[in-house]
Symmetry: C2
Subunit: 499 residues, 2 copies
């Protein structure tokens, strides 16, 4: 460790401090802050963001980083931090500071406006804000783009290095080719599954009791975490000793149950980041896709399996004796896996889920590459849902306004969900060869599974890329076939389809 | 407005942004953050505090401030901001940056350690931290002290300009001389008051319903505020559109009812700061004493009066039909004014309250001026309570560990409570000559009283000192006799003592 690294450290610490403060403001805004606070708090967020921006783009910081790299004698963590810093600098240095600050102020308010619009089923209330957010993102991408690079590829790269429109067209092509015919087969030949009991007068207080129990059961550590409520469930991390998840309580009990297991997947990743990495630029998940692989792994591969529910379903029946007392564990697990092409992504079954993502992927390409006017979004959205899933939203709240992502400028994020599913299936295929997966679940030993994931994924933070992690675990590059095979095998069994 | 002021503005904005972030971390730590987060979050708080410190003590900022003052053409707000900046600079520039940061990190953790110690009734768990906090405060005061100035006077001056040990010795002297004999008279000759019904199985959920109702009734604006829970009730303000109060729910229903009315007094002050002042150095209350004058005004002068409860007591009975259904409004108001020399400051009646402060004032002088060892605090505390109030704590949680203040380094703060009471009584005496005070309360028209306080106090922020505000309202300087007269008149009536 040389002198330049020592001189660089205070700057890195300040970046971390500012990011943590911004994360806390975001958490607070989405869970607690009073309605009218937004424009005033947005100003604070703008100032802190601008300060972060100034450090990252400070010539002196760049100089120290380059010197530190030359001096060598750096640990693997330090080298990763320098790589992340350099990428962050390249991402930001091309953006004029006043535009960066204006964008930060805009997104500090935009989620609130989105939430209002969703509540009021009023797309027009959100459209001007969305247009501004999108225009900023396109402008920023144009600054960041290499010669001839597509703007949407720039955005995709922010969330998942090594994936672009070309590789995603291929990926979604496979899903389309294999899953759409299977979905048709299943709808025509599969048996009927009853899931009516999942909807009803489920008391929010009891739902909270249930999800707290499940969160602990899955391994969420309440001495290092918080469970809150927000319109759209999410996970955020201040550091590896303060990881927060939210959920929302509706009349569909499976919404809260599985969103919490999902967010616990994210949180276990963040809680599994070692002390050595947390509060550094290397102390987050490898990529958004890898993050989603973990959340969807817990939600679906673990959480929607019979083996998971066998030891724990009785507790759920205790909490909801009226609603679930007469429902067997098999009926419950079948119900939470019921395939029903629907309108809401977060309520989608595992099989149609990636179709929801495919729709968003296609629309994002249209918005970014084909300049689809924001005003046309409700129509395009509804048409695509009708075409791919045979359902049409009755209002924008169950249509284009259902997700928070675009309000925050996260264009290019959605594909990570589908990639995450596919990463998870590939890892799952390998893990089954290494351990008695279902046996562990039946023993309630989620910890053993988490331990494997921590040792092979979580503990690396950003030291390895998602593709490297996949290779090191499974011995091969990313291969979406595992995902398709997993889905078809799973649903053939549930729907009792032979051949 | 000249060039220098324009150049200074970004620095001022950053100070505000950092202070707001620190305020949010403090709120979050005391209301929500998970237990094990403290040391990691403390690091972030330390870095942000150090950054704030750097700006305030930056030679360039001082230079710009001096230039701006010379250039003139400044508004009253701008002049006040410059004055506050200069005072803040003088307060901090003498402290070595690494000591300032270390202290910020320490106090980010110390409230948590205090809370644990209080819960466990274990003074030894807190003593080493308290000693560190105190030592820092003494060291900082020694840096800040003018030639020959007492350290405790430096501390007092932070919270209340224009008051020192000499004036406070005089102030507390009057209280002692007049109130202690009166308390004796009241105990010997006053009638018996029953307040047993205030303690019982009061459901926390219903208490929350009641305090939410009361908060709105008093004028707390939930679109610009939040009500939370914490060990020790407090108010904090991010800006005039985000003001947060907390309470705690116990078996004594009056604890939550009156702590919320108290915190609403603080919050109405902060909500009454105009847009022009908020998010500037002039956008807080005039002083701690003036702030406490408002909280205690709402809690006691308004909140413990018969006229206040007449229109609203029925609602309380509706919420607690079993507990209060048979209790008349007169019995209720008598009960919440019952004088009972006790152990807990926040539960103290209005008459003995200032004796609790007197004890803390004397102990603070001993700690700071006479170097009383921290280890002896429980003993000294218990002895003083026995001497002045005739009660002795059975454990440290109801003794020296009851208040959060010292854990945060707020030595010299407590006297503000007593001063606030006295400010409030002086203002009240004047207001009664201007309006039908009780008549307004009986009509439920708290808004008219708040409007008067906003016009004469809140809207000025830091534009006027507390003494100036007193003078402008009442036409005279601070005069504690009003407070003494108010208390004796009030309690003679309640306890039916003639002569």
């Amino acid at each position: 460790m040389g002198k330049a690294w020592e001189d660089l450290k205070p700057y890195l610490e300040k970046m971390t401090a500012l990011q943590t403060a911004l994360t806390l403001f975001e958490w607070d805004t989405e869970t607690l802050a009073p309605r009218e606070a937004a424009p005033y708090t947005a100003k604070i967020v703008g100032i802190l963001s601008e300060d972060y921006f100034r450090i990252v783009t400070d010539g002196k910081v760049q100089e120290l980083a380059e010197k530190a790299a030359k001096e060598g004698r750096l640990s693997e963590v330090e080298e990763t931090v320098l790589r992340e810093l350099s990428e962050e600098t390249n991402r930001l240095i091309c953006i004029p500071p006043e535009e960066y600050r204006a964008f930060a102020e805009l997104t500090a308010e935009s989620a609130g406006i989105w939430a209002e619009a969703k509540k009021e089923q009023d797309f027009d209330h959100f459209a001007p804000t969305l247009k501004k957010v999108l225009d900023y993102q396109k402008k920023f991408a144009s600054y960041q783009a290499k010669e001839g690079q597509k703007l949407y590829d720039v955005m995709l790269n922010t969330y998942e290095k090594g994936f672009d429109t070309e590789s995603l067209d291929r990926f979604f092509g496979i899903l389309k080719k294999e899953l759409i015919p299977f979905l048709k087969q299943l709808t025509e030949r599969g048996r009927e599954i009853d899931d009516s009991f999942l909807t009803g007068n489920y008391d929010p207080g009891k739902q909270e009791e249930a999800v707290r129990y499940l969160a602990e059961y899955v391994g969420f550590d309440f001495s290092r975490g918080v469970l809150g409520e927000s319109v759209h469930p999410f996970t955020t991390s201040l550091h590896n000793h303060d990881v927060r998840v939210t959920t929302a309580y509706s009349e569909h009990v499976d919404d809260s149950l599985f969103s919490v297991i999902h967010e616990c997947g994210h949180s276990l990743y963040e809680l599994g980041i070692p002390d050595e990495l947390t509060q550094t630029l290397a102390g987050q998940g490898a990529s958004m896709g890898m993050h989603e692989s973990q959340s969807r792994f817990y939600e679906n591969i673990i959480g929607r399996s019979l083996a998971f529910w066998e030891p724990v379903y009785g507790k759920l029946q205790e909490i909801f004796p009226q609603e679930l007392g007469q429902v067997t564990v098999n009926q419950f697990v079948d119900a939470v896996n019921k395939v029903r092409p629907g309108l809401i992504r977060t309520q989608a079954d595992e099989l149609t889920y990636s179709i929801h993502i495919l729709i968003r992927y296609e629309i994002e390409k249209m918005l970014v590459e084909d300049n689809l006017p924001v005003e046309e979004l409700p129509q395009v959205w509804a048409d695509k849902y009708e075409e791919y899933l045979g359902v049409r939203p009755e209002n924008v709240s169950e249509g284009v306004l259902q997700d928070i992502h675009w309000s925050q400028g996260s264009f290019g994020y959605f594909p990570s969900y589908a990639l995450g599913n596919a990463f998870g299936a590939q890892i799952y295929h390998h893990m089954k060869g290494q351990m008695d997966f279902d046996g562990l679940l039946r023993q309630g030993n989620i910890a053993a599974i988490t331990e494997y994931l921590r040792e092979n994924i979580h503990k690396y933070g950003k030291l390895k890329s998602s593709r490297q992690i996949l290779k090191d675990i499974t011995g091969e590059d990313f291969n979406p076939q595992y995902y398709v095979d997993y889905l078809i095998e799973k649903y053939k069994k549930i729907y009792e389809i032979s051949g």
